[in-house]
């Protein structure tokens, strides 16, 4: 029989590292020793608390916004690339000249450079996706190999015991996709993401939208989507056609071992419950009944606990999380997009220059209109001063000949 000291030593290790024998001994000791039982319950609850806590979508989008805003700020202050301003000034003049010439010679319209360029250029963007996935998430091949076995995940949602009895141990893999998509056609691509989600049987769990589409406030939508895992690959394939993917990561968490551990424990508690119920039917002594009721209550707690945990896992396995940030591109951003051809980028650069010039002219016009009342007042004052000065001059001129006559 395990003692409290050994129990404490084992309890120090995460539960996932216990052997089946150790777990059995731990639970047997916890059932005997109230203090150790409370400790075990506390530790399990602590681990479950984090597992069941959702991260607010607003947080996910707001830190990204702040980081991108910081990047712009640092870029403006010249902290990121101190040499960039000088180069940019020279480059702007060159691009303006070359771009104007190129657009004349080739007759490229700005319309054709929009959506088709973004879509056809996707493969280039996907290169960056592969890089991100391989650098941080391990082998992407893992996902396709495992995706087939995930399709029927969740079939045992309400009857976990049956699945165990049939010995059909499907892998329980939680997949999470993170994508950042840049677009020049924000509204169309926003609608496309929603359509893709619906078509694949998914749903928008949360959505955070910011920006008004003006040059100083580009639009951004942060989607948290739940997409059925069997449709996830189709969804991703569809999402490849939306704008240009600038960042992509995919994580795959295999929770099979802990899931089936929980399933076994649930079965143990269910069997225990059956026995306790049978004993209660036979019990005649009131004190026995009270003790049995306490045991039933305790067992029911663990049945609820394991069922809740398994339902949570099944929900995450069945519907994958897809976090998509859709960012609207300015013309200047589009000019720097690697997936566009040189000519298209030049056209975007010219357009960006024209937009900036237009914004400056608009700002000047607004300033002039806003300053009109002051200009009117200044004009009146100037006219009055001018009239007074003229009058004085005329008086002086009139006096001078009089004095001469005298």
């Amino acid at each position: 029989m395990m003692d409290c000291r050994t129990f404490a030593l084992l309890l120090d290790r995460p539960e996932g590292e216990w052997t089946a024998e150790e777990r059995q001994q731990m639970e047997a000791h916890a059932a005997q020793c109230a203090e150790c039982g409370a400790l075990l319950a506390m530790r399990r609850e602590m681990a479950a608390m984090d597992a069941e806590t959702e991260v607010p979508a607003a947080f996910s989008s707001s830190w990204r916004e702040k980081v991108y805003a910081e990047e712009k700020k640092m870029s403006r202050q010249g902290k990121l690339f101190p040499w960039k301003r000088a180069v940019a000034a020279v480059a702007a003049v060159a691009v303006l000249a070359i771009g104007t010439t190129a657009s004349y010679l080739n007759g490229w319209g700005l319309q054709s450079a929009g959506k088709s360029a973004d879509t056809s250029g996707y493969d280039g963007g996907y290169g960056a996706m592969n890089y991100a996935a391989e650098s941080y998430d391990g082998s992407p091949a893992l996902y396709s190999a495992k995706s087939a076995s995930m399709t029927a995940a969740g079939a045992d949602w309400d009857v976990p015991a049956e699945a165990a009895a049939n010995n059909t141990r499907e892998e329980k893999i939680i997949r999470t996709i993170n994508m950042t998509i840049k677009t020049r056609q924000y509204e169309a691509d926003y609608a496309l993401i929603r359509k893709l989600t619906e078509e694949n049987g998914g749903r928008v769990e949360s959505l955070d939208v910011s920006g008004d589409g003006s040059a100083g406030s580009l639009r951004r939508a942060s989607f948290v989507l739940r997409v059925p895992s069997e449709r996830l690959d189709a969804f991703i394939a569809g999402a490849k056609g939306v704008g240009t993917v600038s960042a992509y990561s995919e994580s795959s968490d295999d929770v099979s071992e802990s899931y089936y551990d929980m399933q076994n424990r649930l079965q143990t508690q269910q069997v225990k419950m059956q026995r306790l119920t049978a004993l209660m039917e036979k019990a005649e002594d009131v004190s026995d009944l009270i003790e049995l009721e306490n045991a039933v209550s305790e067992t029911q707690y663990w049945i609820d606990y394991y069922t809740g945990q398994m339902n949570g896992v099944n929900s995450r396995v069945q519907d994958s999380y897809v976090n998509i940030t859709l960012r609207e591109l300015s013309s200047a951003d589009a000019a720097e997009t690697k997936t566009l051809s040189l000519g298209e980028r030049i056209v975007h650069a010219v357009k960006a220059s024209a937009e900036t010039a237009g914004e400056v002219l608009q700002a000047m016009l607004i300033f002039l209109v806003a300053a009109l009342p002051w200009i009117a007042v200044l004009a009146v004052i100037t006219l009055v001063i001018r009239a007074v000065v003229r009058k004085r001059k005329a008086k002086r001129a009139a006096k001078t000949p009089e004095q001469g006559d005298a």
Partner: protein, 191 residues
Amino acid sequence: MSIFHRQSRAERFEALAVQHERMLYLLCLRMMGSREDAEDCAQEALLRAYRAFDRFRGEAGAKTWLYRIAYNTCIDALRKRQGTLSLEALWEAGFEPVETGLPQPGEALERRELRRQIEQALQALPPDQRAVMILRDFQQMPYNEIAAVLELNEGTVKSRLNRAREKVKNILISAEQNPSASVQEDEGRQK
């Protein structure tokens, strides 16, 4: 052709940070005890990390580096909070610890109560002990990683964890024995 484009600094940082945002948020949530403060702290931590991204060389590992920044940000925020309102005062003002991850209605009341007690007990711990407990007992982080995050040796991590567990256990036991007793009393007894 690539002279006009390279993956921006923010994009590279985003690809790195997104791997850890959930656990960083949870660390801040348990450290601060409220959703609003956790969001503020986690955001501030990620912004600090972004500003220092150029100096990150990868020796410590991105996870350890981000966790350390998040922990330090929480400690700064807790110091500021200490200057404005004590935990006792917060409780007296009706402060309830964060209710994230609570069981759904219909699940055992005892479990809900246990989570509430754990949250309260956690907030009653000094921040250094609280951090060790969060990283080990909530996030199941190995001792060597905890030591790297908190820049301590493993022996110190273990002794802090033991003290934290003992305190939390005493608070929970006393709460069970006397459900009406407040955590403030438990905390006073611990001191």
